[in-house]
């Protein structure tokens, strides 16, 4: 019996070791992911800074190259990764920092875009989207689906999403400029118009006629088929 009890103890010790290694491995991999996020952000930051500098240096001449410096696609994928990390990782302090950084990058990208539009006479449309957690904003999840679907449909549409709760002075300034109230979320700013409450695909499409028109001209057959499908649903 003494011998038997040894097996119970050894099995317990091995199980504890396996458990410990699973936790350590999980920690290590999550750390790798967090540093991956950080490095993506650093790259974007570098790109934005470089675009800004290039733009200031070359002035009007830069308009020729400006269409190629589309950064928001990278920003979108980063946003997906950050929200995934928020749901799955435990290290919230680090994440909060990353999120602030990301918010700042979005604002910088938005401002650069505005400047480019102004100087080069382009008509890129940006949507600023303010959301908060699901317990405070029941319709934010749905609004997110609408914007994701619009972004897939119109790749030139630039969507900047901001978590209302992020404590960043630049974000507070943006909020106060457009007078976004936390009780009226979700809120969208298209052009200079503030729209509060849930907006459907059709509502937003009415606000971005230039993009819709351009998309229709590019692919007339596919688009008409697509819109027929969406009205059918």
């Amino acid at each position: 019996m003494k011998h038997d009890m040894k097996t119970y103890i050894v099995a317990f010790a091995i199980t504890v070791v396996i458990f410990g290694s699973a936790f350590a491995l999980s920690d290590y991999l999550n750390g790798r992911k967090a540093s991956q996020l950080k490095s993506i952000q650093d790259n974007i930051s570098l790109d934005i800074l470089s675009s800004e500098t290039q733009f200031s240096l070359l002035s009007e001449l830069a308009c020729k190259n400006v269409d190629h410096s589309v950064l928001s696609q990278e920003l979108n994928s980063l946003s997906e990764k950050i929200s995934y990390a928020e749901d799955n990782f435990e290290n919230t302090d680090e994440l909060l920092k990353l999120k602030k950084y990301y918010t700042l990058l979005e604002i910088k990208d938005y401002l650069l875009m505005q400047k480019i539009n102004e100087r080069c006479g382009l008509k890129n449309v940006s949507v600023l989207y303010f959301y908060t957690t699901s317990d405070k904003c029941g319709e934010c999840a749905k609004q997110g689906y609408v914007l994701t679907s619009l972004r897939d449909k119109y790749p030139t549409l630039r969507v900047y999403s901001f978590d209302y709760a992020v404590d960043l002075s630049a974000l507070r300034a943006l909020i106060s400029i457009y007078k976004v109230e936390d009780t009226k979320l979700p809120a969208l700013i298209i052009g200079d118009d503030l729209m509060t409450g849930f907006q459907s695909v059709e509502d937003i499409e009415r606000e971005i006629p230039s993009i819709v028109k351009a998309a229709k001209m590019l692919a007339p057959k596919t688009e008409s088929a697509k819109s027929a499908t969406s009205t059918g649903n």
Partner: protein, 413 residues
């Protein structure tokens, strides 16, 4: 997920992992002995044996069952085959008459009273050293009895269980069970080595006849008499062995419904026999049976239920999201395949733990196949096993719990 739910999940995973690790360590410790056990030896003095075959409406399989018994390589003067017709309403009794002149065979007919009563009649009439039983839907390997008899050379061994296999599996349900039975061979062998056997299967388990004089005969025991006798023997500190190379083939349920009824009876029997014998649970003096086998069985049931409810919850959540998405923006089938990014592969500790748990189970399955002399290779049986058992096992476990709470009994067929 909430903190208590997460905590419970970790506890369950820890216990499930512990039971598997324990099993593997016990196997590694005893592997030399297990290998030796697999060789066919002849006992110096062979014990005499009676095989009792309780029959209730077995006209379809009886001839094959008896045929396999008559083909056993065992001295004819030491072997008796006893067929007990337990009030069949088909041609079972008239088929039995085919062997009425065979000196090795004894035929009895009685009113229907249940399998345990037929077995008890056999025990009462038997005069041999050993008494074994064989369900009338099972067939034995010619060397099975010879292999089993060698274990009785040890005077302290009171019962020996064989390796039960699925007879001629053809459809998906039977192939899935074959995986489970292979896994069972390994588990039973290790349990046999550490004194933790909790069931002496209806097909071809043998007992020393003398034990019935002190313990009494078989009982109805929630229609799992082969489990209850093992519990009773464990409660009386009697020793078992498992002969992994003594093969017996059983006709397994070939439909989901039949499998459900059989497993409901088994799980109901496990729960209720465990309740009946709760006095011997978690006590050191009853050994591995009390400290390992039964607790790991309970952990197994909880794991299946918990994993199932988690999967249902997660799938429900995913569907709710998708439906809400489609309702909001309309249904657009994806035009391009989603791109793979390892970033979105979950690296939560619970997922890693579950992968590790499956890895340990895979090692167990590998060792089980090696033990029965099969070369382990991938087959689709394991996919059938995982699919059928993941989705249907929770149903029979829930029903067995429900029947226990509301005191509903189970049926044989």
């Amino acid at each position: 997920m909430s903190i208590p739910a997460n905590f419970f999940l970790y506890i369950i995973t820890f216990l499930a992992l512990y039971t598997q690790v324990f099993l593997l360590i016990s196997f590694l410790k005893n592997r030399g002995q297990i290998r030796k056990d697999g060789e066919l030896k002849h006992a110096k003095i062979l014990p005499s044996a009676t095989v009792v075959v309780p029959c209730w409406n077995e006209e379809k399989t009886l001839r094959k069952t008896v045929g396999s018994l008559l083909a056993l390589r065992y001295p004819k003067d030491k072997l008796k085959i006893m067929l007990v017709d337990d009030g069949s309403t088909d041609k079972t009794w008239s088929i039995m008459q085919e062997w009425k002149n065979n000196p090795n065979m004894l035929l009895f007919r009685k009113e229907n009273g249940g399998k345990h009563t037929a077995l008890n009649l056999g025990i009462e009439k038997a005069t041999t050293d050993l008494v074994g039983c064989l369900d009338a839907d099972s067939f034995v390997d010619p060397d099975a009895l010879m292999r089993i008899s060698t274990y009785f050379s040890d005077p302290s061994v009171m019962a020996v269980a064989p390796s039960v296999m699925v007879s001629n599996p053809k459809n998906i349900v039977e192939l899935a069970q074959r995986v489970e039975y292979h896994l069972g061979v390994f588990v039973k062998k290790v349990l046999g080595m550490i004194g933790g056997i909790h069931v002496t299967p209806g097909p071809f388990s043998f007992y020393r006849r003398e034990i019935f004089a002190t313990l009494g005969g078989f009982r109805d025991a929630h229609k799992t008499e082969d489990m209850e006798i093992a519990y009773r023997m464990q409660a009386n500190h009697l020793k078992f062995a498992h002969s992994h190379s003594a093969y017996v083939y059983t006709v397994s349920p070939n439909t989901i419904k039949k499998l459900f009824i059989q497993r409901l009876r088994w799980i109901y029997g496990f729960i209720n026999n465990t309740i009946d014998y709760r006095r011997v649970m978690l006590k050191k003096k009853y050994g591995a049976f009390s400290l390992y086998t039964i607790p790991s069985g309970v952990i197994g049931l909880l794991t299946v239920l918990y994993l199932f409810s988690t999967i249902v919850y997660q799938v429900g959540l995913f569907l709710a999201h998708k439906i809400s998405y489609w309702k909001t923006v309309g249904f657009h089938p994806a035009l391009h395949a989603p791109s793979f990014d390892w970033f979105f592969v979950s690296t939560q500790s619970i997922i890693i733990l579950n992968v590790m748990l499956y890895a340990v189970v895979a090692v167990t399955l590998y060792a089980g196949k090696r033990l029965i002399g099969k070369r382990p290779k991938f087959s689709f049986d394991i996919v059938y096993f995982l699919v059928i058992y993941s989705f249907i096992a929770p149903a029979w476990i829930v029903k067995a719990c429900y029947n226990t709470v509301f005191r509903k009994s189970t049926s044989w067929r």
